[in-house]
Symmetry: C2
Subunit: 291 residues, 2 copies
């Protein structure tokens, strides 16, 4: 049994955080949608290195799912999540109901241009507006000193950095490295959707990104790296490649087709059945740093 | 000479507010676009009744002006404004440059649905998104306990109430009553644009709203009150009536054409030459309360 305290309202959350802060403690928040795996727990571990107290939030945010997407099917097991968080050293779980976040009459939405364009923004046109709105609310509700987001959703991380800078939200954003299975597959709650056959193909996404990073460092053009990456994924058995792109690691602008500049971030999303798998890798000279 | 301290950056602003708060003082913010008149100064007076310290901001926000509007021509006289604020008991002026509010690469915008629809939202389609974004920034930058906005821009006030509630911004919003010239014209920085002949017609806007409120209280239908109000303004010499509408005072939904329910708010915008004049009035039974 976990003894992790759980609060359901922003009022209780803020009271707890204010109490900690009055005692001189700093506070880190790790927002999650639950269905926790070792990747999420690493956020708590990182939070504990960045602040005195670690808060996790658990909220499956309806507004970042399109009507056709898996909001209803998204895995939910709060009791198990709370036990995992407690064991990982989390100090508080904020698990609000949908009505606490979006009360009747809610009418505000936040959009972030630039970094939201293309890739996930193209595949899921309303997704980042849903993310930006809920993250702004969570950060303003919690008033954390630091908030931790995983690099697995790298474009989301950059959207949040832009959002927080633009709205002057006084929370420092920290990206957490991707946590992978032994065969290289980036951990994701949606990996649970994979069949055994799909799960066997899935690690090729990371391997293909590693190969692409090496090609880029060896002087291949961006256009060649992108084309070869997509082709390799299709050859490996992925049903479709939504994108395989070399981008600037900060503002996510596209790299010119002949560019071999680094640093860069290579981001890809490919499909196995109905499951979209996201992954990405950092590329930086001198020497390959495969983040 | 005013000795009002002026800060130009959010960092200085927050440092000053944090210092006050550490000393146990509460803080009220009155956002303005400068060109101050007695209406603005009443915001400072109200601020001083709501908190221990009053901060005014002065920022002519480019994003709430459409390209065809009067951003460049908008009257600016910071030295005079600072002197007036100092005399009114203001404790601090925050007067940031455009680059402090919108640094290079700024990409975020906030929209508020519902209360933003129709009226000013119809006449100025990008206006309230510009207002919502800058107000969210100012409130988050300042971390004031209370913020004061004039009821002259009544729809704007309701947009801001919705915004602040939806984003959980921990600042209480207080509306300040409209301040009028002796002949009833609501004070506005844009009254400076009026010719002498237009200025003579302008008070008919308030008189027509008062007459409409009396008609509504006497049992006239919403449809009749709206039609008669528009007709009266055109007969008085206004060049055009953008709208003359009876609305719910909170969510600004339209009142049914046969409704005589109160409370209500009657909102109107009419044009004299190129100048748009806004005004509004509250209607509440029993007894006419002409706010």
């Amino acid at each position: 049994m976990s003894s992790l305290p759980i609060v359901r309202t922003k009022t209780e959350l803020r009271a707890r955080v204010d109490e900690w802060r009055a005692g001189g403690a700093s506070v880190a928040l790790a927002p999650t949608m639950g269905a926790l795996h070792a990747g999420h727990l690493s956020l708590i571990g990182l939070a504990k290195t960045q602040a005195d107290r670690a808060v996790a939030s658990l909220f499956v945010n309806p507004t970042q799912f399109a009507p056709s997407e898996d909001f209803d099917a998204y895995p939910r097991d709060e009791a198990n999540d709370a036990a995992l968080l407690g064991a990982a050293g989390c100090d508080l779980l904020y698990a609000p109901a949908v009505e606490e976040i979006y009360p009747s009459g809610f009418a505000t939405s936040i959009t972030v241009d630039g970094v939201s364009r293309g890739m996930e923004g193209a595949a899921r046109p309303t997704h980042f507006s849903g993310v930006a709105t809920v993250v702004a609310k969570l950060l303003i509700q919690c008033t954390a000193d630091v908030a931790i987001f995983g690099e697995k959703d790298y474009q989301q991380l950059q959207v949040i950095r832009q959002l927080v800078g633009d709205l002057d939200i006084p929370t420092r954003i920290v990206g957490a490295p991707i946590i992978r299975a032994e065969d290289g597959l980036a951990l994701s709650s949606r990996n649970a959707y994979l069949t055994e056959a799909e799960r066997a193909i899935a690690p090729q996404l990371h391997r293909t990104l590693c190969a692409a990073a090496r090609s880029l460092l060896n002087g291949a053009s961006v256009a060649a790296v992108e084309a070869e990456g997509s082709a390799a994924l299709l050859a490996a058995g992925f049903a479709a490649v939504d994108y395989f792109e070399v981008r600037d690691p900060d503002d996510l602008t596209r790299k010119g087709p002949d560019s071999i500049e680094t640093p860069a971030r290579i981001l890809a999303t490919a499909r196995l059945g109905r499951t979209r798998l996201l992954d990405n890798i950092g590329v930086r000279l001198p020497g390959a740093e495969f983040a």
